[in-house]
Symmetry: C2
């Protein structure tokens, strides 16, 4: 075991899409855990779209990563030193360990994982934050009813695939949107969606809208919003009265800069949006899953057995080594990954 | 009693703000009520912002008024002929009687009014659709909590004044927005708002925002949206996390044409809006009160005694005679009225 720790810091704030130059690899001493703290050697770290938001110095639901600070990430790994009675070396734990080979966290900020119950990487995806995000948003804010129609983009991603599979199990017609015919095939064949539309085949929002409309002859009751941009513009006019739109993220807009940036707004205006919400009596709810951890046990209880039985499927895209993280992250923001993007460190 | 009926029809669809030429007065025979129908002589008819939407041939929650069709309106008056046992001549009734001196409606579409219980015109405002809209939107979608801050525009109008008074009674800090210092004085002195801001004193949304921010030092928890445009743009960045925005109408945008029109969107883009909903975890709900008449009894039970006791106040702006309706309507859309706009016909 090395006495050195490697981490990736934010070297500069991106203008638009991040580039490798926005990141810097640093090597330093292995940190010592303080009183009540635990040192974890990270086996897998998570890459998620929300991290793009942390790179901007804009008002958001979380503070930005400072220049020179370690990029934030959830990670799972093995405890190698502990100053708290609740963890001992050899335990496995999940926590916000950062883009780093090791992380120190207060014991109460870590969740113990049983590696015999599931592959530990699942705690970053299908049984972690992304899966929980899909479950919470669909269940609490989407309020699915049998026979309704749901649209979700990034259909093969860890949030979209959870939303679509849960909705199918609840008796809804499920239409996925994904980038490329291979992902669409995954959505229907692996995840069991009723239909999947390749948004790359449609340049204009109105053409994408026509394709969605053909696949949703009864209109759309729930649009689970996790991408923004062209898909939102395509779906909005197809919403049925009393439709629900949970909003958990907008990857298409993350690269546009902070609040006030206007990417993709050429045709979709504020008044358009607002008027649609009014005339269709839509219920639009933004949420971040961090506010709802009190429901996490309920989620695990309901979903973990369905994952174990294979009823709910999941896919991972594994990058190898910390040094691969920036490129994997950049590619993920462009839709280059298939399934939950993780980085394997051990 | 005349055997003639006068009505105002839609002569042409407006481009932007309506003009007198969009309306035409017609005179004809008094209609005969059919089986199960009732003929009412209208004493008061209501003018409301939603009627502007009915003048457009655009997709909305209700069918447009056809060219040559009678303009829609709620009205209250005296039954003068009835072919249904539930009404007899001399009864008073509320219904969708249109911009007309008389109206025929199926008995089941009329609501009997007791003129001894309240001035009959109140059934068009404080104890009718506008008051009910304010009560429902605030109670069900605003979910007010003691100590929170609420902003409502058109503060002296029948919806805004109900929302603000109910919120004050529930222990909220209430900030009104109104057009002109006289209306602002009414909001604070008559309706008891904590503060009122004259939006005419602020050309730019950012200046209006500063004024609202000064009046709302703890941020805004509920924005009751009934105007759109500059006020929305001013308030949106002031919303606190987990804020609620019930949307019941957008008078500022009604004159912009149908869906897809982009008035006031120079600076407020679709992505701005969407991103605000996400990062503040806002709950944005469009509604039209017509879908919630099942709650009307509950509203009356709660609010009517408070109106009778004077705890909840209301104002009416009365135009005289059917011929005055178009000009009163046009002026109302520009904010020229004070209090609920009605037209007195008898």
């Amino acid at each position: 075991m090395s006495d050195q720790m490697k981490r990736i810091v934010l070297a500069s704030r991106p203008e638009g899409a991040p580039t490798p130059e926005n990141f810097r690899l640093e090597t330093g001493e292995l940190p010592e855990p303080g009183e009540g703290e635990v040192l974890v050697r990270t086996h897998y770290m998570s890459l998620d779209p929300y991290m793009r938001g942390r790179m901007d110095d804009a008002k958001s639901y979380a503070a930005p990563v400072p220049i020179g600070g370690t990029m934030e990430a959830g990670g799972v790994g093995e405890v190698i030193a502990s100053n708290d009675p609740s963890f001992k070396p050899g335990d496995f734990a999940f926590g916000m360990l950062g883009w780093a080979t090791h992380g120190v966290q207060p014991a109460k900020m870590l969740r113990k994982i049983d590696p015999d119950q599931m592959p530990i990487s699942a705690t970053l995806g299908v049984l972690g934050m992304p899966g929980f995000t899909g479950w919470y948003g669909l269940t609490e804010l989407g309020r699915p009813q049998k026979g309704e129609t749901l649209v979700v983009a990034a259909a093969t991603g860890p949030v979209g695939s959870m939303v679509g599979q849960l909705a199918r199990l609840a008796g809804l017609r499920v239409i996925g949107i994904a980038g490329g015919s291979e992902k669409c095939k995954l959505a229907t064949d692996t995840f069991g969606f009723d239909a999947c539309i390749d948004h790359r085949a449609y340049e204009a929002a109105k053409d994408l809208r026509k394709a969605i409309s053909d696949a949703a002859p009864d209109g759309v009751d729930i649009y689970f919003e996790n991408v923004g941009g062209k898909v939102l513009e395509a779906v909005l006019p197809l919403m049925n009265p009393h439709g629900r739109i949970p909003i958990c993220g907008m990857i298409a807009w993350y690269n546009a800069g902070g609040l006030g940036a206007g990417a993709n707004s050429d045709t979709l205006t504020g008044p358009d949006l607002w008027r649609n919400i009014l005339v269709k009596f839509l219920s639009v709810n933004g949420f971040i899953i961090a506010n709802h951890w009190d429901r996490f046990g309920e989620f695990l209880k309901e979903v973990a057995p369905r994952v174990a039985s294979g009823e709910i499927k999941y896919l991972e895209d594994v990058a190898e080594g910390l040094e691969a993280a920036p490129e994997a992250f950049i590619a993920m923001l462009e839709g280059g990954n298939t399934g939950k993007q993780v980085v394997k460190l051990v």
